[in-house]
Symmetry: C2
Subunit: 250 residues, 2 copies
DNA sequence: CACTACGTTCTCACCGGACGAGAACGCTGC
DNA sequence: GCAGCGTTCTCGTCCGGTGAGAACGTAGTG
């Protein structure tokens, strides 16, 4: 029984090695329940293609240089353009808060830049390329509110609405209604729906035709937000305006 | 005729998309000379595994999040430990020159950290994960000189000794002899053998048993090196000593 | 509106190559 | 000498990849 398709197996092996950082053929064979000769075939093939390296001295396999190349290509393709990175960084400095830029990518919502520092660190799960939990993040809400109702429904159905904190919205009806007001107000707040004790805010970035194509956001400890709401919204709008202007021009 | 193995084809498709950044099925089919239905099968499989994404609106395929994950795993596995990164950074500051740390990885010689800045930029081809042209770089010479003669020969035969500048050593005999003196002097200089108008120097980093396991290096415009040779060697030895001490301890 | 070009998915009969049990070889450590 | 591991072969079975071709929807054009 050839378990699954050859390609599935190949990537399963690759990811198994990636997950353990370093693995022997036997370990992979045990973990994936694939017979040893088959594992060797796959490992050797992956090694030949430079996706793995074989450390002969230790009898172990590790990730090869092509993996890093793929990562670079991905990053290069997705990284927000320089003026947007700059606006995000300035927002970070102005509000003394980690700041983020996200956009659509096909059916996905992806973080394509973030600016933080030791004093104002990003929220741990968030990183370049992050593409989950749109229902529970401020930038996610902005971009969800820019979709048609059908797109949004199919997005939420495909990914679910996992409860991340007691305040996470986990019912579509609730979220749809919430996004109505987000859309009319032009700003999304997220109060401890993604991480405890953390509040985020986001505003849309629009292209030449006025369509929402991106979202600029900040995160802060909830304690530091009180009383600053309008200041935060003003700064977000200011820098989002710069982004939109760039998109109109380019 | 199934061209090559399925796995080869799969990675060829993946790399084709990576290279163009974004591609349609037809483009891939043309470039790789694989019939369209087969390309679609592969693209869909890769998409299902999140190594590609399908931008339905534009009918294009691009790299998916798993590619970035692989890159991260690779980086995490290979990145030099913090004390070594720190020593490399301080060397950079002390000598006002881009500095590098490289080590063995199986049969390979890999750059696992580098420290530079706008004023003292790294040599363009050099980046984290760089693993070529050991015969023409200072850190490469150090690590080649730490191999047995057989290891070195098979290394050089497998990768060749391409001429990168008029001064690149392209004959094994010459290099073997040169590495003799590198080994006894404990320092490797590289004068415009890798890039024109650029000089590099490197020293070994040793583990508890005295074996050479890594190399610390700097690069500078040749014009800035004259008369500073001994100062450079002293600084290299100083910081390499710190690295060695760390390796003896850990 | 017909017409073309493209993106995408099916169908289907063929057959190459993946499959895995098992054995074998070399090496290390006890 | 023996056990355990890493690694590679062998070999008969049969699964699943293969690609020409057709079909469907859609976007753009004249």
């Amino acid at each position: 029984m050839p378990g699954q398709s050859l390609i599935s197996r190949t990537f399963a092996v690759l990811e198994s090695v990636a997950a353990s950082g370093s693995a022997t053929a036997r370990e992979v064979s045990h973990q994936l329940e694939i017979p040893l000769p088959s594992v060797y075939r796959l490992l050797n093939e992956l090694t030949a293609h430079q996706y793995l390296v074989h450390l002969k001295a230790e009898g172990r396999f590790e990730l090869g240089p092509k993996c890093f190349d793929l990562g670079l290509s991905f990053r290069q393709r997705l990284l927000a353009p320089s003026p947007i990175r700059q606006a995000t960084t300035e927002l970070h400095r102005t509000l003394q808060a980690a700041s983020y830029f996200a956009m659509y990518r096909g059916a996905d919502i992806v973080l394509t830049y973030l600016s933080d520092c030791d004093k104002h660190p990003r929220l741990r799960p968030l990183r370049f390329g992050f593409h989950e939990a749109a229902h529970a993040t401020a930038f996610g809400k902005i971009l969800l509110s820019g979709m048609t109702r059908e797109q949004r429904s199919s997005y939420l159905e495909a990914r679910g609405m996992p409860m991340l904190t007691p305040y996470t919205m986990t019912r579509q009806e609730l979220l749809h209604a919430h996004l109505e007001t987000v859309s009319t107000r032009g700003v999304a707040w997220e109060h401890e729906e993604f991480l405890p004790r953390t509040t985020c805010a986001a505003v849309p970035v629009r292209n030449g035709t006025g369509m929402c194509v991106g979202s600029l956001a900040v995160s802060m400890p909830t304690a530091k937000v009180l009383g600053r709401e309008s200041q935060i919204e003003t700064a977000l709008r200011e820098y989002a305006g710069r982004c939109s202007r760039f998109l109109r021009a380019g």
